[in-house]
Symmetry: D2
C-alpha cells in the first residue's frame, strides 16, 4: 500500500503556500497532510485558494509545532522571522523546506543589517544549478529556498562571472509581478494602484534580496561582486524579468559569451538559453519551473547584457522548493515539476 511522503504546508493560505500546494497536488510522491495558517486558521482552504479544487474543503489549522508534527516533510511559507523558532521544534529527521528568508544568508551581519533581528542560522541553499550547490542538497534535512529575485539574478549572471567574462560589478533592474509581495493588505498593492502603472521601490541598494545576490555571485566569481539592484512593480500577478549587466572583460566576444552560457546550462533541466534573437518574456515561464535567459554583448557600451525570466512563485519559490525536496529525499530532481508554461 502506497502511503506517500506525508507533507505539511505552513502558511497555506498565502501565495507561496498556495503554489506549493498546486505543485504538490500534481506530484506523484507527496501526500498532503496538515495545512496551517495564521489568522486564517479555522477557515476552509477554498475561501483563500479556490483554484485548488481538490483541496478546497480542507480546514486550515493553526501553525504550531504540534500541528506540523508527524510529517516527513514540512514546507514553511511564512513571513520572515517565523521559520527559525518553529524549525527548532521540528524533529531533526523531518525535512524542513523554508520558503522564507530566515536561513538564506551566510553572514549574520548581512542579516542584521537588512532585517534588524538576530540571525536564525544558515541552511543549505536550495539553488542546485549554482556551482557546488546540488550535492549539498542531497540528504539534507534543512533547505533555505532562495528569494525570487536572487533566483533570477544568480542564474542569469553566474555563467558570465564564473567564466571571468564580466567585471564583478553588476547592475540589476528587475520587474516583478505583485504576488512577489505576498498577500499583505498594503495600499500600494491594491489593484487600482497597480494596474496601468509601473513603479520603482526599495531602490538605491535597500532591497533585502541584495545581500543574497551578492553572496551567490561572489561565490560564482571567486571574488567580491557588487550589485546595484532596483526592483520595480509591474501590472501582472506573476513573473520576474531581470535585466543584468556588467562591464565585459577585455577580449570577450559574443561567441565566447554564448559558449559560456551553453556550457553552464548544459544538462540543467530547468535552465534554458533562448535561441539567438529571442528575448525572454515572463509568459514563457508562467507556472513552469524554468529560468529562461538571453545574453548579448553590447560592444558600443562594452557591457554584457543578460535578461532572465522566471515565475516568482514557481521556480522562484515553490517549484524551487519542491526541486530541492526531491533532491533531499533522493527522488528524481524533476519529479512533479514541469518546463511547460501556461500561455497566453
Amino acid at each position: 500500500m502506497d502511503m506517500g511522503i506525508r507533507t505539511a504546508v505552513a502558511g497555506a493560505s498565502g501565495y507561496a503556500g498556495g503554489e506549493v500546494l498546486r505543485i504538490l497536488a500534481g506530484h506523484p510522491e507527496f501526500e498532503i497532510g496538515a495545512l496551517t495558517a495564521g489568522s486564517n486558521a479555522g477557515t476552509a482552504l477554498g475561501a483563500h485558494q479556490p483554484h485548488l479544487r481538490s483541496l478546497a474543503g480542507r480546514v486550515l489549522e493553526e501553525t504550531t509545532p504540534g500541528t506540523l508534527s508527524g510529517h516527513d516533510v514540512v514546507f514553511l511559507a511564512l513571513p520572515h522571522g517565523r521559520s527559525g523558532p518553529l524549525a527548532e521544534q521540528l524533529g531533526e529527521d523531518v525535512l524542513v523546506i523554508d520558503c522564507g528568508a530566515d536561513h538564506r544568508l551566510a553572514d549574520p551581519g548581512d542579516w542584521e543589517r537588512f532585517y534588524g533581528t538576530p540571525h536564525a542560522g544558515t541552511w543549505p541553499y536550495g539553488l542546485p544549478e549554482l556551482p557546488g550547490q546540488r550535492d549539498a542538497l542531497r540528504s539534507t534535512r534543512r533547505v533555505a529556498v532562495p528569494g525570487c529575485y536572487p533566483t533570477a539574478v544568480s542564474l542569469a549572471m553566474f555563467p558570465a562571472l564564473a567564466a571571468g567574462l564580466a567585471e564583478p560589478d553588476v547592475v540589476v533592474v528587475a520587474a516583478s509581478g505583485t504576488s512577489g509581495a505576498g498577500r499583505a493588505l498594503k495600499p500600494h498593492l491594491l489593484g487600482s494602484e497597480v494596474m496601468g502603472s509601473v513603479s520603482a521601490y526599495a531602490a538605491g541598494g535597500t532591497h533585502r534580496h541584495t545581500p543574497e545576490m551578492i553572496q551567490n555571485l561572489s561565490a560564482a566569481a571567486g571574488e567580491r561582486v557588487s550589485v546595484s539592484f532596483t526592483p520595480t512593480l509591474v501590472p501582472m500577478s506573476r513573473g520576474i524579468l531581470a535585466t543584468c549587466t556588467a562591464k565585459a572583460r577585455p577580449g570577450v566576444t559574443a561567441a565566447s559569451l554564448r559558449a559560456a552560457y551553453e556550457q553552464a546550462y548544459a544538462g540543467e533541466p530547468f535552465l534554458g538559453l533562448l535561441p539567438e534573437g529571442q528575448w525572454p518574456a515572463t509568459s514563457m515561464t508562467l507556472g513552469a519551473n524554468t529560468v529562461l535567459v538571453q545574453v548579448a554583448l553590447d560592444e558600443a557600451a562594452g557591457r554584457v547584457v543578460v535578461v532572465a525570466a522566471v515565475d516568482n512563485l514557481t521556480k522562484g519559490t515553490a517549484g524551487g522548493a519542491v526541486q530541492s525536496a526531491n533532491l533531499a529525499l533522493g527522488l528524481p530532481e524533476e519529479l512533479g515539476l514541469t518546463t511547460i508554461g501556461v500561455s497566453p
Copy 2:
C-alpha cells in the same frame, strides 16, 4: 515497449493548438507527432509557443492530409471552414477532434445564417456533462468540440432548465479574455486597445455562438429556448465569466434551485457548484478543466441568476477536446486533465 497514441495537432502555432499541446505534453498516453501550421509552416514551434519548452525545437509542417496521416488522433485547431474538407481526407478510423466550429450545429440553416457558407455536417458534440452526451462520445471517431462561450453557458443553465425551474428565455452577458479571439492581427485586439478597457461586440444576437447555446439549452429544456447573448472583451488573456439569468418558474425557491444544481453536477469531475456566498472568478479555473458555478434566486426581480467561470482555452477548448478524446479512446475521462488552477 510503449509507443503511445500517435497524435497530430493542426494549427499548432495558434492559441487553441498551443493549449492542446500544453495538455498533451502532460498526458501519459499521447505521443506528440506531427505539428502543422498555415503561414507559420517551416518555422520552429518555439518562435510561437516559447512556453512549451520541450517542444520548442520542433519544426511546423504544412497542414495537409499528408502531414496529418499516420496518426491515431488528429486535433484540428483551425479557422472555421477548414476542418470540414480536411477531415474528409483523414481515415475513418482516425479519431478527429475538431476544435473549430464546423461540425457543432445540427441545423444547416443555423450554420448558413451565421457563417454564410455550406454546412460541413454534424459530429458528436464534445460536452459529456450535458444530458445524454457522454455515451455518444464513447468510441466515436469524430468529435465537435464546443465553443468556449457555449461551454460556459450550457453548463451553467442546463440544470435550471432541465429541472423546469426557469423560463426558456435566457439572457446571457459574458466577459471573455482576448485569447478567445485567437491570434489574428486585428486592431481591436492590440494590447494598447484592450488594456484598461472593457468593450461589447457582436451584441444584439449576432454572435456565432448564439445558435449553439440555443441548441444545447433547448435540448436540456425539452422546448425551444431563446437566448439573448452579449459578449464583452475584458483586459485579460484567458477566461470567461458568463452571467446567465432567466425568469424563475412559479414556486421555485433558493433551496430547490441549489438542489437542482447539486444533483445535476453530482459525480461530474469537472463541474463545481461553489459554496453559498462564494461567486466565481475566472482565476479559479485558469489552466484547469473546470467550470465553477454559483446560483441564486433574485426574489425581487423574480429571476434565476447563474454565474459560471471557465478557462476558454482549457475546458472551453483544448481540455474539453482531450476529455472527449479520452472518452472516444476508452481512456479514463479525467486522464491528463486537472481541476487545479494556476493562481494568482
Copy 3:
C-alpha cells in the same frame, strides 16, 4: 480681484476625492480650499495623490464641520453614513455635494433594507439628463450625486422605458474597474487577485445600487420597473460597461428604438449614441464626463439591448458632481468638464 468660489473637499485622499480635485484643478471658477481626510489627516496630499502635482504639498486636515466651514461649496467624498450628520452642521447657504450614497434614495425603507441604518433624508438627485431632474438642480444647496452603476444604467435605459419601447423588467450585467470599490484594503481588491481575472459579486439582487436603479427607471417608465443586477469586477482601474436588456414591446423596430435614443439624447452635451455598428468601450470615456451608448434590437430573442460605457470616477462620480455644482451655482453646465477621453 478674482477670489473664485471657495471649495472644500472632504475625503481628499480617496479615489472619489482625488477625482474631484483633478477636475477642480482644471476648472476656471473653483478655488481649492480645505482638503480633509480621516486617518490620513496630517499627511501631505502628495503621499496619496501624487498625480495631483500642483496640490501635492497641501496638508490634509481632519474632516470636521470646523475645517469645512468658510467655504462656498463642500464636496463630500466619504464612506456612506458619514455625510448625513456632517451636512447638518454645514450652513444652509453652503452648497453641499454628497458623492456618497446617503441622500440618493427617496424611500427610507429601501435605504434601511440595503444599508441597515436610519435614512438621512433625500436630496435633489444629481443626474440632470434624467427627465425633470435638471431644473431641480438649479439653485439647490444640496445635491446627492448618483452612484456609478446607476448613472450608467439609468442613462442607458431611460429612453427605451420612457418611450414605452421596453417592458419594465430590466436585466443588467455590469463590469466595473476596481476604483469603484474605493481605496479600502480588502483582500479581493489586491492587484494579485484582480489582474487576470473577472469575478462576480453581490449578485442575486443584493447590490446596494439596485434600489437606486429601480427608483430612476420607474420614474422614467411611469410604472414600477424591476431590475436584476449582477455586477462584476474586471482587471482595470476605471470604467463601467453596463449591458442592459429588456423585452421589446410589440411593434418596436430597430429604427424606432434608435430614434427614441436620438431624441432623448439630443442637446445633451455628455450623452452620446454611437454610430450604428460601433459598440461602447470604457476607454472611450476614460477621464471624460461622458456616457456613450449603443442600442440594438435582438429580434430573435425579442429584446432591446443597450450597452453603456462610463468612467465611474468621472461622469460616474466626480464629474457628475461638478456638473451638478455648476448647475446649482448658475454656471454653464459644461464648465471645467470635458468630453475628450484619455486613450489608449
Copy 4:
C-alpha cells in the same frame, strides 16, 4: 473675431496623432484644421479615436502637401522616413513639429547606422529643459520632438552628468507601455501576448533611441557618454519608467546629488523631484506633461540611481510637441498643458 492658429495633424488615426489632438482640443489657441492619415484616409476619426468625441465626425484626408497646406502649424505623427520629404514641401513659414525620428540626430552616421536610410537633416530639438535648448526653440519653424525613451532618460540623467557627479557610462533599463510601439499590427503587441507578461526587446545596444540618448547626455556631460540601454514591454498602455544608473564620482554624497537635481529642476514647470523616499510610478504622470524623478546614492554599489516616470504619449511625445510649439509661437510655454495626471 478669433481665428486661432490653424493647425493640421498628419497621422491623426495613430496613437501619437490622437494624443496631439487630445491636447489641442483643450488648448485655447489652436484651431484644428485638416486631419490626415494613410490607409485610414476617407474614414471618420471616430472609428479610430472614439475618445475624441468632439472630433469624432471629422473625416480623415490623405496625408499630402496639399491637404496640409494653408495651416500655420503642422504636426507630423508619421512613421520614420516620412517626415523629411513631406516637410520639404511645406512652406518655410509654417511651423512643422515632427513627432517622428527623422530630424532628431545630429550625426548622419548615427542615423544611417540605426535606420539604414539617408539622413533627412537635423532640426532644433524639442526638449527645452535640457541646458541650452529652450532658446533654440523660440521662433524656430522646425522642431524635432524627442523620442519617448530619450525624453525620460535625458531628463533623468542630465543633472548628475552636468554637475560632474556621475561617470559618463550610464546603464538604462526602461519599462514601456505598449502604445510606445504604435498601432502597427504586430504579433507581439496583441493583448493576449502583452497581458500578464513582461518582455525585453531590442536589447544589447540595438534600440534606435540609443544614439539620441548618447547625443543628449554627452552634450550635458561635456564629454562622450556611453549608454547601455535595455527596453522592456510591460502590460499597460501608457507610461515609461526608466531606471538609470552610473558610477558615482568620488566625493559624491546623497545630499550633493539631491542638491544638483533641485537646482537643475528649479523653475521647470514640468520636471519634478519627488520627496525623499517616494519613488516614481508611471500613474503619477498619466496624461500629464510631467517627468517625475527620484534619485539616490547606492553607497555599497557606488552608483547613482535615478528613476524617472513619464507618459510616453504626453510629455514623451504630444505634450512635448505642444510645449515646443508654444515656445516657437511665442505663447506661454505651459499653455494647454497640465501637470495633473489621471489616476487611479
